[in-house]
């Protein structure tokens, strides 16, 4: 295995296509080639930020500023994009049946739940990616007047951004949409998840983000150019094995963080493992100098930047429409590495 790792280094350097390695999912015996965390080259090429004209910004805006819980989904069997209306109807019936059984209800609320499935072609990376599928559960209380707006109870989004590694060798009947974002009550998630699992023979699993992946995210997002940085870079660490849990929050002024990253990054649009390590080491040693605490011995649980914030439990908030594609690309990779 050690020898194999050495050989792949040469392959990685020779590849001219953007090699989107995988973020480490911490598997120690991980495949040495092409994995961001485990690859010897450890290089990531960033996609260019979305131009404002591509697609309808309004539709993708519904992904912004919401806390999404991440799931990885195995490929869907015999998912037909033309039948979205039928699926919506079937899912609605399933939800109604579950509520009859007494599951997935908020007690004492009389609601008609309407299901809508739609395609979001804007959320796509390469041409091989499947366009995203949006699932929305909305309700209208029976008490409210007829033409009042439906309230969206729960949203879910299947997407795949640059998921070529997964969709490459996929047989025809399968649709690859490995990343699932969920926003709303957990009870609806379990009902919707059950229906999709039964209907398309797929499996949903919670996607957690390792501290190692979080360091990549913070390095990448700090480097992104924003017109005016509204919030700084914040890192939250949890200290293990203390009688009372202790959280350390480390906030950095956005311009300082960007300046630091700019001195470290050598090639614009490309990030290597060493650059991420140096960036984090600088932050840690600065903290140590002031507080005599070794942050490298603690667990990084949350990172927040002006672009997005991510929590190690697999909860992500995207804040900037321009870099939406980049964030989703990372998350798609994490999802794919959990599936494979």
């Amino acid at each position: 295995m050690a020898a194999m790792a050495v050989e792949s280094a040469e392959d990685g350097a020779a590849r001219t296509l953007p090699s989107l390695g995988r973020l480490s999912r911490g598997l120690p015996f991980g495949r040495a080639y092409g994995r961001l965390g485990n690859s010897p080259s450890g290089r990531l090429i960033l996609p260019a930020p979305l131009s404002q004209e591509s697609g309808d910004p309004q539709r993708t805006a519904l992904l912004l500023r919401k806390a999404w819980t991440l799931y990885s989904v195995t490929p869907l069997y015999r998912f037909c994009r033309g039948r979205l209306r039928d699926y919506a109807r079937l899912l609605g019936a399933f939800i109604a049946a579950e509520r009859q059984k007494g599951l997935a209800v908020e007690v004492g609320v009389e609601l008609d739940i309407k299901v809508a499935l739609s395609s979001l072609p804007e959320l796509q990376g390469s041409e091989q990616d499947q366009p995203a599928v949006l699932v929305q559960l909305s309700s209208r209380s029976r008490a409210s007047p007829k033409n009042s707006e439906d309230k969206i109870l729960w949203s879910g989004c299947f997407c795949c951004v640059y998921g070529d590694d997964l969709s490459e060798n996929m047989p025809e009947d399968f649709t690859c949409l490995p990343l699932f974002l969920a926003n709303g009550a957990e009870s609806y998630m379990s009902v919707v998840g059950n229906w999709f699992q039964k209907t398309f023979d797929c499996i949903f699993r919670r996607l957690a983000i390792s501290p190692f992946s979080l360091t990549w995210m913070v390095a990448m997002w700090t480097g992104c150019k924003v017109d005016k940085a509204t919030s700084g870079v914040e890192l939250v660490f949890s200290v293990p094995r203390l009688p009372q849990p202790l959280d350390i929050s480390y906030a950095i002024h956005p311009e300082d963080a960007k300046a630091l990253w700019d001195t470290i990054q050598k090639t614009p649009g490309e990030i290597t493992q060493e650059e991420v390590d140096v960036f984090m080491d600088c932050l840690y040693s600065h903290f140590h100098r002031h507080f005599k605490i070794h942050l490298s011995a603690t667990k990084l649980v949350k990172v927040s930047t002006a672009i997005a914030s991510a929590h190690c439990d697999g909860i992500v908030k995207m804040l900037h429409s321009q870099y939406l594609s980049g964030v989703l690309m990372l998350l798609t990779e994490l999802a794919i590495s959990q599936i494979q």
Binding site: M1, A2, A3, A5, V6, S24, R25, G26, L27, P28, F29, G30, A32, R35, G37, N38, S39, P40, G42, A208, I209, S210, P211, F212, T215, P240, Q273, M280, H294, S296, A297, T298, K299, L300, C312
Partner: protein, 177 residues
């Protein structure tokens, strides 16, 4: 002498000494206890340290170290840095089969803070095997203890016809396959 040397002391009769270097003392204790519970026909002494160099005051009381196990916790970057700093205090001749890297905490895949490839490269650079384990699970802990005990036995020269160097070459060749 700040640097640990493999052959600067006389060996004890039918005995072996193991040195565990790592930042997590609790885990080292657990591993040491697991090793001591294994059946063996030679005397064993386990020394635990958080980092090298070892304090020189008690150097004359220490036996000859036969195997050094550097413990790296996958959840803590600090432990990797600690090990890297300690490696400087080990004489080069130790790396002829008498050093091993033990990566712990691999059961919790989602808490990984270090790049596992970096650890593998470290093992390659120092020509020493890298073992992965999860010491919180009893089965794996016992298995790891058995492996380390066997390696210790070979490194102490207690297995006739088999030296530490030949064993490390054997491990490297089988890893490459």
């Amino acid at each position: 002498m700040a640097v640990l040397r493999p052959f600067d002391k006389l060996p004890g009769l039918n005995s072996a000494a193991l040195l565990l270097v790592g930042s997590d003392e609790e885990l080292q204790q657990k591993l040491a206890e697991a090793i001591l519970q294994e059946k063996r026909d030679f005397k064993i002494s386990i020394h635990i340290a958080t980092s090298l160099p070892l304090p020189s005051e008690r150097d004359h009381l220490r036996p000859r170290i036969d195997l050094i196990v550097f413990m790296i916790d996958i959840k803590s970057k600090c432990s990797l840095k600690n090990v890297e700093a300690s490696l400087a205090h080990v004489d080069a001749t130790f790396f002829l089969g008498k050093v091993c890297f033990l990566v712990t905490g691999v059961g919790r895949v989602n808490c990984c803070s270090i790049e596992t490839n970096a650890v593998c490269k470290l093992g390659e650079a120092y020509c020493s095997p890298v073992l992965f384990c999860e010491l919180e699970l009893e089965g794996v802990r016992v298995a790891t203890a058995q492996r380390l005990l066997r390696m210790l036995q070979i490194c102490a020269g207690l297995v006739p016809g088999f030296s530490a160097l030949s064993f490390s070459l054997l491990m490297r060749n089988s890893a490459d396959d």
